[in-house]
Amino acid sequence: MWQGPSPAEERDRGLRKVRDWTAAFVLVAAGLVAVVAALAAGSFPGHAAAAAPADVSSAGPSDDQSPSEQPLSPPGGFFNPGGRGGGRVVSGGS
């Protein structure tokens, strides 16, 4: 005659249930955190870096800038040594 699970088996089954529920809870919580984080990131755009004060160096920026971050030198023949006559326009502070 079948007498049902022993107390030890009942305890083991209960512990397994607790373990499974804990794992499921952790997974659901992690998923919710990810969803909320993604929504927040989309709603409040971040910044490239912390709010550091101006990083001016007396020697200017470093040389490891990308080409698009470098000032472009003037075209060849910028100065015309053969020019004659006085100025027609003034470059000065304003």
């Binding site: 910044h47 004060p53 200017g60 920026p61 470098q70 100025g87 470059s91 304003s94």
Partner: protein, 307 residues
């Protein structure tokens, strides 16, 4: 044959030169561009787009293509100068008393004196999505595009004017010079001086240019008094105070007026380190020390100085 016309815009003098006719068309194009730039980014117009962005106090705002380009140009200037030119000096400029049109600021000496040093918040706080044309400026940050907008406008105006006139054009917005299209024979004759309002036959150096941009920044102009102290408009972002380096005036040539102007302003802020920085980037420059001594770097021509 070079034709010339003068008018006023953006609180400064504008001069347009054409090589080959089309002066009316060129000037109309320049006026359109300058008016649009002023509407987009003036600090002193409550109806400007920039004013609306500031009123949003940190909320992202969708902006026009023009304001996107203007802000992008100011951030590019900040990156390429290591922050020596920084658009977030708006609060510092206001603290210094430059909170209205310059003519009004210069007319009075208001108390109190300039407060102590306070660094600019930093250009990295400005969040610009160029693709979506969305701009977000934190509530505590005020943008001042004055260091880059005029030069950017000169580039845009010169290109637009050359297309409208069908010939070579030079546009000077308050001494920030941009050229587009073919130059006249011998080049565009430009007097380099401390003040853009100086007479064309006054002291300085005449150079003849083929294209690109030329800009001058100077601590000797756009000055005012606050609490009895003399101030000028080129602020050092590290301190939020007027730059106090060894150069009083810097003139720089570059591929565009925007780059030339950023480099000239950066040179004033950098002080001692400016000459080597300009050499490294092959930007020809004429630097004037506080005592008036002139130093040419990166191939700036020696000839043509006039006393």
């Amino acid at each position: 044959m070079v034709d010339t016309r003068d008018f006023a815009a953006m609180g400064t003098g504008v001069r347009v030169l054409t090589a080959g006719g089309g002066l009316d068309e060129a000037c109309a194009a320049v006026e359109r561009v300058v008016a649009a730039v002023d509407r987009a980014c003036s600090r002193f117009r409550p109806d400007s787009e920039l004013a609306a962005v500031q009123r949003a106090r940190g909320r992202p705002v969708r902006v026009s293509a023009l304001l996107t380009e203007l802000v992008a140009a100011s951030l590019r200037a900040a990156r390429m100068t290591g922050g020596a030119v920084d658009p977030t000096v708006g609060v510092a400029m206001r603290r210094a008393g430059y909170d209205r049109d310059y003519a009004l600021v210069a007319a009075e000496d208001r108390a109190p004196a300039l407060p102590g040093p306070e660094p600019a918040p930093g250009w990295r706080l400005v969040d610009l999505d160029e693709t979506a044309r969305r701009l977000c400026v934190p509530a505590a940050v005020e943008l001042d595009l004055g260091a880059t907008a005029k030069a950017f406008a000169a580039d845009l105006a010169a290109r637009s004017a050359a297309e409208a006139a069908g010939c070579g054009v030079l546009v000077s917005l308050g001494g920030d010079i941009a050229m587009a299209g073919p130059a006249p024979a011998g080049g565009w004759p430009v007097l380099v001086a401390e003040d853009h309002a100086a007479p064309v036959d006054g002291p300085g150096q005449v150079v003849w240019l083929s294209g690109g941009g030329l800009a001058t920044s100077s601590t000797t102009v756009r000055r005012w008094r606050r609490g009895g102290a003399d101030l000028h408009h080129i602020l050092d972002p590290r301190t939020g105070l007027p730059a106090d380096g060894c150069w009083r005036t810097a003139t720089v040539g570059a591929a565009t007026c925007a780059d030339a102007n950023a480099a000239a302003t950066a040179a004033i802020v950098m002080g001692d380190g400016a000459a080597s920085w300009l050499e490294r980037h092959r930007l020809p420059a004429r630097l004037v020390e506080r005592d008036g001594r002139v130093v040419g770097v990166a191939g700036w021509p020696a000839a043509g100085e006039r006393r």
